[in-house]
């Protein structure tokens, strides 16, 4: 009988286990210590590991990430919480140039074992606190990008991220924090660059992760009653991206839809579509499609958010077109 915990607890367990395993792992960010995080993810870690390893930082996003790079090149393994994924742009130099490039431009003289935890997704907090900016990370050499969708994956991918010698941008979807899943016992990690087929089907391959994965799974149940079987691919990490498993799926179904919570133009779906055109054109017998935020900001109030987020019905409708 597998234990069931929620996604937020899974992240807390991953942090606790890695901090217990390796004294060089430190954790900091705004509110992570005394309060235990605004989303309650880091609760108990200050008591267990003490203020030298778990501490509250100033609201200085550039310094949070930059200090992480500096600590990493000196041999620590910092985990930084940025509180909102949108803030990668506040710390743009530090994320894209320092974390991503410091090793490269100094000829490989350093390793940068840094994890930046990035709570993401639309929760009604306004246009600067609601986005899923994975595409920026995918666009930038030197950075790894994890997008766990289940509690088990969140724990295993975070443990792997902390052990990797490269900087990882670790997206945690806020709408998943309370989501419960079965989780295996023991010291389980998952490799980056290996996705998973969440549901098998023969008519359309749907690529979705995090909150959009749960919508895709709901759509699959509805479509099944209509005789449409969609295959759902969860990439788990976007950099590196498991194109092999996706292409294998598209070879079976002949159609592909990407559902994402980021902006549509030059988004993750644009990249996946281009990749399929280059590497799997012969397997596609219907046009590649994508559903995304339609290039407007994600507003504060629910009706406006719901209007732009890809819905279960949007997914169903597009899959019906593709399966027709």
């Amino acid at each position: 009988m597998m234990r069931t915990i929620n996604y937020g607890q899974a992240i807390n367990e991953a942090l606790a286990e890695e901090m217990a395993r390796d004294k060089d792992v430190i954790l900091y960010g705004l509110d992570v210590a005394a309060w235990g995080g605004i989303f309650n993810i880091t609760k108990g870690l200050l008591d267990r590991f003490g203020p030298e390893r778990v501490f509250d930082s100033p609201i200085s996003e550039s310094a949070m990430v930059g200090a992480g790079v500096g600590a990493a090149i000196m041999g620590l393994r910092p985990v930084v919480e940025l509180q909102y994924a949108d803030f990668i742009l506040v710390a743009g130099d530090e994320i894209f140039f320092k974390a991503g490039l410091w090793r490269y431009m100094h000829g490989g003289a350093f390793k940068v074992p840094l994890v930046v935890r990035l709570p993401s997704g639309a929760t009604g907090a306004g246009p600067e606190h609601s986005t899923c900016p994975e595409a920026y990370i995918m666009h930038s050499p030197g950075l790894l990008c994890a997008v766990p969708s289940t509690a088990a994956d969140a724990k295993a991918l975070l443990k792997e991220a902390i052990r990797l010698d490269n900087p990882v941008m670790f997206f945690e979807h806020r709408r998943l924090y309370q989501k419960r899943d079965a989780i295996p016992e023991g010291d389980v990690t998952l490799p980056f660059g290996k996705g998973i087929i969440r549901r098998e089907g023969r008519h359309v391959t749907v690529v979705a992760w995090q909150y959009m994965l749960s919508r895709a799974l709901k759509a699959a149940e509805i479509l099944e009653t209509e005789g449409i079987e969609i295959e759902i691919f969860d990439p788990r990490t976007l950099s590196p991206f498991d194109s092999e498993t996706l292409i294998e799926s598209v070879r079976k179904t002949g159609a592909c839809l990407v559902v994402e919570e980021g902006y549509r133009r030059l988004g993750v779906g644009a990249e996946i579509g281009a990749m399929l055109m280059e590497q799997a054109f012969g397997y596609l017998d219907r046009p590649f499609r994508r559903l995304a935020i339609p290039d407007v900001p994600v507003a504060s109030v629910k009706p406006l958010v719901d209007r732009v987020l890809p819905s279960v019905e949007d997914i169903c409708a597009t899959c019906r077109e593709l399966a027709a």
Binding site: I26, E52, S57, P58, S60, S62, A63, V65, G66, A67, G68, V69, G70, A71, A72, I73, M74, G75, L76, P78, D93, E94, F97, K98, W102, R103, Y104, M105, H106, G107, G108, A109, F110, K111, V112, P113, P141, G142, D165, N166
Partner: protein
């Protein structure tokens, strides 16, 4: 009080730096090197004096202006030329050029291409030293222009509140590329900003190695004692342009700046103190020129960097 052998050492390293950099500038004019060199002429004496006040394993983040920092630490001259020339044998495999010379065995931890970008890294480096109970201190050089970046404020506040072992050294040469400090900066002294972070701030004359060494020594003692960071402002002199081929049309002080060359002042001082004779300095000069020439020949004989290096060193 500075010891005579330290003064001789500072003069020798500054002389080597000046000769080396002059040769690099000549090589840019000859087309062997790209003109992407930001000369540090006028600032070497203070740079080397500052580093002479520390241990050679104290982690260094340097500023883009000049090579005195690396000469002080003993980084290979030919490796630095190779970094510029795109030849094999450099420190960063052709990735960073002269702007990202790195030499971890000599505690040279690199440079940020975005000016002031290293300030926030120094915070984490200080965190790592503090966590290890290390006796080392991080020294970070940057210019007056970079002191107007937000990273300066974020780093100094953070280092101060966590009492990190960091020494912040602002080399104020009066210019941010072509913009004079009076146009860019509201305060007379960058060091005055230390008060905003509750840390010691001190202004020193960059032509006076005694003053520089004393200020850095005090800052290092405080840092090693767990008392946190300091901000030292060196009033510096930029003798040359922003980059090697800069015509400097914007400079009002172009005619007079050479009269204030700190290396000329120091040369006279070591002679007056009887530490070196004119003849000994001439012999040193000839020796260093030969060392530089040897380094140039080594690089000219080296192969071009393998183009596939473009794909190396990105991920560990």
């Amino acid at each position: 009080m500075i010891q005579n052998d330290q003064l001789k050492h500072i003069f020798a390293k500054a002389l080597l730096t000046r000769l080396f950099e002059a040769r690099l500038i000549k090589l840019t004019a000859e087309g062997f090197l790209p003109p992407l060199l930001h000369p540090g002429a006028g600032q070497e004496v203070a740079q080397i004096a500052a580093l002479s006040a520390l241990n050679d394993d104290d982690p260094l983040l340097y500023s883009h202006r000049g090579v005195g920092y690396m000469v002080a630490r003993g980084t290979s001259l030919s490796a630095m030329i190779a970094d510029m020339a795109g030849r094999a044998g450099g420190t960063n495999n052709g990735k960073g050029g002269i702007m990202h010379v790195v030499d971890v065995p000599n505690a040279v931890y690199g440079e940020s291409g975005t000016l002031g970008g290293g300030l926030v890294l120094s915070v984490g480096m200080g965190m790592a030293l503090k966590r290890r109970r290390s006796d080392q201190v991080v020294i970070h050089f940057f210019g007056d222009g970079a002191s107007n970046r937000g990273t300066f404020h974020e780093a100094l506040n953070w280092a101060a509140v966590q009492k990190l072992p960091c020494i912040y050294v602002c080399e104020n040469n009066g210019w941010a590329v072509s913009v004079p400090t009076s146009v860019s900066t509201a305060v007379e002294n960058i060091a005055d900003r230390a008060a905003g972070y509750g840390i010691p701030g001190e202004v020193v004359d960059g032509a006076d190695p005694n003053a520089v060494m004393a200020a850095i020594s005090d800052a290092a003692r405080r840092a090693r004692a767990g008392e946190g960071p300091s901000l030292i402002e060196i009033k510096a002199i930029r003798l040359l342009g922003h980059y090697a081929a800069d015509p400097q049309d914007y400079r009002a002080d172009a005619a007079t700046v050479k009269e204030r060359d700190p290396l000329v002042t120091l040369r006279q001082r070591v002679i007056d103190l009887g530490l070196l004779s004119e003849a000994e300095i001439d012999a040193m000069t000839a020796d260093y020129e030969a060392q530089v020439e040897q380094a140039v020949e080594t690089v000219k004989a080296a192969p071009l960097i393998d183009a596939d290096q473009a794909f190396a060193d990105l991920y560990a």
